[in-house]
């Protein structure tokens, strides 16, 4: 409990750091957001109109006033107005987030469903040709960048089968589940492949470690079946590294998969941040980076708490 309190107490400090970093960084991008927003039309604005727009978005004030207002607003649930969308930042983020979340969950499901059985299989067939096969595939998977795999998938589909991945207007899960799945399955496979490879490798090595432990040998010598030894005795203890890895990967995926979203033309969080940075949409960049960092920290905390659930001997916060 103490540990949880201390971890939660560190949240505001880290988020404060993130907020300062992103606030300063985005203001160092050359050019101003009004010109970026209006393009050549910005030249048609009279100085008075430009000032009025700047005042509307709050970017006419000195930086410390802007920062103070921004932080004060966040404490009241107001993340500011996006210059590009002309709407509250939080609304824009929450509109994009379900896709990113769904993509992250799907990729993780694929990764665990493929990676864990493959890793366990390899561990129980250690040093046999089938183990070598799994390891080679996992090594290749881990070395395949998502953008290479994504393009290969699209190419294979279009050249081999004459079909293209479902693109076009994105259908949210609750409106059209089938269309939604058909749009997200290939991006999820693209992201899940390398993820599955990492899960395979880590579950194999964790399983091998555990299988050589005394208690597993004892269980075996007492006549426990191979299945029971693996599933009841070894697997729960081999899960900790798998949980760590999956948690970290999942946390990163929640930040948006910029490149995969770009390849499959998906309106996710990653592409939104990329566009916002290029548009110098201060409020949107600041808000979304803070949002992503917060999610990442929550996921990390959940991973730590999962250790305790998996292994009651672990007491968090002790050296």
């Amino acid at each position: 409990m103490n540990y949880l309190m201390r971890r939660l107490a560190a949240f505001p400090l880290v988020l404060l750091g993130v907020s300062i970093l992103v606030f300063v960084a985005i203001r160092m991008v050359p050019g101003d957001s009004i010109t970026a927003m209006l393009g050549t039309e910005a030249g048609l604005l009279t100085p008075a109109q430009r000032d009025a727009l700047a005042a509307y978005f709050g970017i006419d004030q000195p930086w410390f006033v802007q920062y103070w207002r921004w932080i004060g607003g966040i404490l009241h649930g107001n993340f500011g107005i996006s210059v590009t969308y002309g709407r509250p930042v939080l609304d824009v983020i929450l509109e994009r987030f379900p896709l990113t979340l769904e993509l992250a969950v799907l990729s993780m499901v694929i990764a665990l469903a493929v990676g864990m059985p493959a890793g366990i299989f390899a561990a129980t067939h250690n040093e046999k040709p089938s183990d070598l096969g799994v390891r080679v595939v996992a090594m290749i998977g881990q070395s395949t960048p998502s953008f290479v795999l994504g393009l290969l998938i699209i190419y294979t589909l279009s050249a081999g089968f004459g079909v293209l991945p479902a693109m076009g207007e994105f259908a949210p899960l609750w409106q059209d589940p089938l269309r939604n799945l058909s749009q997200l399955i290939l991006p999820a496979v693209t992201l899940g492949f390398a993820f599955a490879a990492s899960v395979t490798r880590i579950s194999r090595s964790a399983m091998l470690d555990v299988l050589s432990d005394d208690y597993v040998r004892t269980a075996r010598s007492k006549g426990a079946s191979a299945r029971s030894v693996i599933w009841r005795h070894a697997l729960p203890n081999a899960l900790i590294p798998v949980v760590t890895l999956s948690g970290i990967e999942f946390g990163y995926l929640l930040g948006g998969a910029v490149i995969v979203e770009q390849i499959y033309a998906l309106p996710g969080l990653g592409r939104m941040v990329l566009d916002a940075i290029q548009q110098r949409d201060y409020a949107l960049v600041q808000g979304s980076v803070l949002f992503v960092a917060f999610n990442f920290m929550i996921v990390n905390l959940l991973v730590d708490l999962a250790y305790v659930a998996l292994d009651p001997r672990i007491r968090l916060g002790e050296q």
């Binding site: 400090l13 960084a25 395949t144 190419y155 050249a159 090595s205 930040g255 948006g256 490149i259 990442f296």
Partner: protein, 279 residues
């Protein structure tokens, strides 16, 4: 020498070592301009020429030789990867050693700053830095270097803390060794093994991040060649000229594979605790 021999005695180390060696040679040739054709010369008559004996990997939309551009691109990518990992290793080692050795407030401040950097998804942080400084090779070096600094800081700080508490460090202090002597001789030398493993694996990530940045148009700028950019440009032509996608894709993949294999082998060799447990 002993490590080299061990690498070549290790199955995946041998393959990884050969792959990395071949890439380094190609990178040097690419950087020196020793390519079959000039990588930016446009042979307009031979646009989108399929691979043959004149153009081993075909030509692109502008009639530029893909093989030569790949060689130049490997040179470019490796330059970014090596320098950015050098930046991260240097900064991370200095910060990690300082945090561990000075302890207390220094440790707290350094590690909280690293927490802030780690709370950013790597590619977003790199994107932000590149947009601030303007895209280009050296910006990529700095961006990727900063992104990976916290990882090196952690890799150094943990073991450095436990080394600091060891008896030989106390003994060195008793004999009157200066702090800088203890930190460089006793701490740093003992950290060479974990750092070597980390550097090799970080090179794989750096190659991946560099390719990702240039894929998004934020890395090396055209007409200079870069693997990510070549791959990105291939998207609209993948049906008419699949070689434009396949060769750069395979090139990136195999280079990352090489560093991963080498990193795995080094971990087995340098850290006996990580050796595979017998079943």
């Amino acid at each position: 020498m002993r490590v080299l021999r061990a690498i070549f005695g290790h199955g995946s180390g041998r393959i990884g070592g050969v792959i990395v060696g071949v890439y380094v040679i190609i990178a040097i040739l690419g950087l020196l301009g020793l390519t079959p054709h000039n990588p930016i010369t446009q042979y307009r008559i031979d646009r989108l020429h399929a691979p043959d004996s004149a153009y081993w990997m075909g030509t692109d939309l502008f009639g530029r030789d893909v093989a030569s551009r790949l060689m130049a691109g490997i040179g470019q990518s490796f330059t970014v990867a090596f320098f950015s990992v050098a930046v991260a290793t240097l900064a991370g080692t200095v910060l990690g050693l300082a945090a561990a050795w000075l302890g207390r407030r220094w440790d707290g401040v350094v590690m909280r700053i690293m927490d802030v950097l780690l709370a950013f998804p790597a590619i977003l942080l790199a994107l932000l830095i590149v947009t601030v400084a303007g895209p280009g090779t050296w910006t990529s070096v700095v961006a990727i270097g900063i992104v990976y600094t916290p990882i090196f800081t952690r890799v150094v700080r943990g073991p450095a803390l436990s080394l600091k508490a060891r008896e030989f460090v106390d003994a060195a202090r008793t004999f009157g060794s200066s702090s800088s002597y203890i930190v460089t001789r006793h701490l740093l030398l003992n950290l060479v093994a974990p750092l070597t493993v980390q550097v090799t694996l970080a090179l794989a990530w750096a190659l991946l991040t560099e390719a990702g940045l240039s894929f998004l148009g934020l890395g090396t700028q055209p007409p200079a060649a870069s693997l990510g950019l070549m791959l990105s440009d291939s998207r609209n032509l993948m049906e008419t000229a699949p070689w434009l996608m396949i060769f750069p894709g395979l090139t990136i993949m195999v280079s990352i594979l090489g560093f991963n294999l080498l990193g795995d082998a080094l971990r087995d060799i340098l850290d006996p605790r990580m050796r595979r447990a017998p079943a």
